[in-house]
Amino acid sequence: MTEKRTATRLIAMSFTISTLASLGLLITYIVGGQPQVEGTLIALSLGGLAVGLIMWAHDLMPSGHFVEEREPHQSTAAERSSLTAEMDRSGDEIQRRTFLGRILVGALGVLGVAALFPVRSLGTKPGRTLFHTSWTPGARVVTGAGEPVTSTTLKVGSVLTVFPEGHTNAADSQTILLRVSASEFTPLPGRESWSPNGYLAYSKVCTHAGCPVALYQAEAKELFCPCHQSAFDVFDGARPIAGPATRPLPQLPLAIDSDGYLTAQRDFTQPVGPGFWNDPS
């Protein structure tokens, strides 16, 4: 009996703590709230209830050894044959008309397919969108803030994210602009004119899964993607040298115009970013 009395006392105490904590929550909220206080009071309030209820169930309520019989899950044979008979009886009109049934199924089928077509309104047609970016021949190279890049903006060993002028919000056109020492760097064959004054530009969209290849190691001349650790060799046309990327970052052919501004000769020669089914690169 005393065990039950102790339990009752403890349960009452738990519920009281819970009540006080709930009052505390009210007050905390009224005076402006504070996350740590709120969280602790919620824990005390609900915790008090929990302790009380569980003790009540454990120590005071009847437990454990009640037995309930299971019935077999299946219906009896009589019930099953009764169902079959009923379905045969009332479904006779439908089952006889196989021709009508077939036309109905056909009609529902076509309606179902037609009903799926509004899904097409969800998005634009891929078309050739993935095959080009906003870089056009002669487009000026600008920073994210829209400031044009000149031939003196970057020192050797520097890096910047750039966009075509007027398209600083074009995610597919994001380009990483580096300056390397022109004497140390040998352009790839066919790309000799692409890197004036040591300025090199590569698409910043990783050819693996599309994250910006934002880490530049100026000594090792490597671009590194933080998502899945693909690394690209800046001196070798941004060829992937580590990680799961399989294709190099497309290079943007640069030029310096007569006023000293950096421009693009034309768009990238391959689609930027991750691959897709009819990607020609």
Partner: protein
């Protein structure tokens, strides 16, 4: 078998110890008043002594470099000050990526060495940036930090892994001057940002934001090292589900109860 290299290193250490003892004697001779100012007045000479003792073995007695260390001629005061004030230099053996450690010299000595090395250059190189946090914009700093720094140093300046066994270090212990120096100089494998890429005002803002990140707003409670979803997942399992498991173990029975 002791080769010529180990003998030279022992000799260097002997000389280094001697020079350090000698070098340390200098500032105290200046008496009261600003030791740095007084020291700078005699800087080229005392800086030269320390340099010859501690640095010349790898960087050459005229700082033109050897096969053990690069040339320091024309690197500028910011570069030398950064390496010395973060303790990355001096090192007692060749290392690819010197790490921050307690500086070997006090402020006055560093100023002397910087002054000396700078005098060896042709006046080129980056001067020590003057960081003014008062005019800096926290919001601009946050944006610039995210765009230029967070990819290597993490959103919360905790640093990050690079390839080739290199790391972008944590910026927690960095002073505003060191932050600005690193931005301008690009130490180690870090790229550099000249005044045409990031203006002085922008560098001030970045420095101000990094200082903020050293004590970030953790309104939600324990910061959990600001690592992110990894630690959050671990806590969810170990603390959260762990507690729930203990509770249901208490509520329910076990086989044999």
């Amino acid at each position: 078998m002791p080769g010529p290299r180990s003998v030279s290193i022992s000799a260097l250490l002997l000389v280094a110890v001697g020079a350090l003892v000698l070098g340390r004697a200098e500032p105290s001779l200046a008496g009261d008043g600003n030791p740095a100012l007084a020291a700078a007045a005699t800087a080229p000479e005392s800086g030269r002594l320390i340099f010859l003792g501690d640095c010349a073995f790898c960087h050459g007695s005229d700082a033109s470099g050897t096969n053990r260390g690069p040339s320091l001629q024309g690197v500028g005061a910011a570069d030398v000050d950064f390496y010395l004030s973060t303790g990355r230099m001096p090192v007692t053996e060749e290392v690819q990526d010197p790490q921050r450690k307690p500086p070997a010299y006090d402020g006055a000595e560093i100023a002397q060495i910087v002054s000396y090395v700078d005098s060896l250059g042709a006046g080129t190189g980056t001067p020590i940036p003057q960081v003014d946090l008062g005019t800096a914009s926290l919001t601009d700093g946050g944006k610039l930090y995210t765009e230029n720094c967070a990819s290597c140093h993490s959103s919360v300046a905790a640093g990050g892994a690079l390839t080739n066994g290199m790391y972008a270090p944590t910026l927690r212990p960095s002073t505003p001057t060191q932050i600005a120096e690193a931005i301008r100089v690009g130490p180690g494998t870090m790229p550099l940002f000249g005044t045409d890429a990031l203006s002085d005002e922008q560098v001030n803002s970045i420095a101000r934001y990094v200082v903020y990140l050293q004590h970030p707003e953790d309104r939600g409670g324990l910061g959990l090292s600001h690592i992110g979803p990894i630690t959050e997942g671990m806590i969810a399992f170990v603390v959260g589900l762990g507690a729930c498991l203990l509770i249901i173990r208490r509520i329910g029975t076990a086989v044999g109860d």
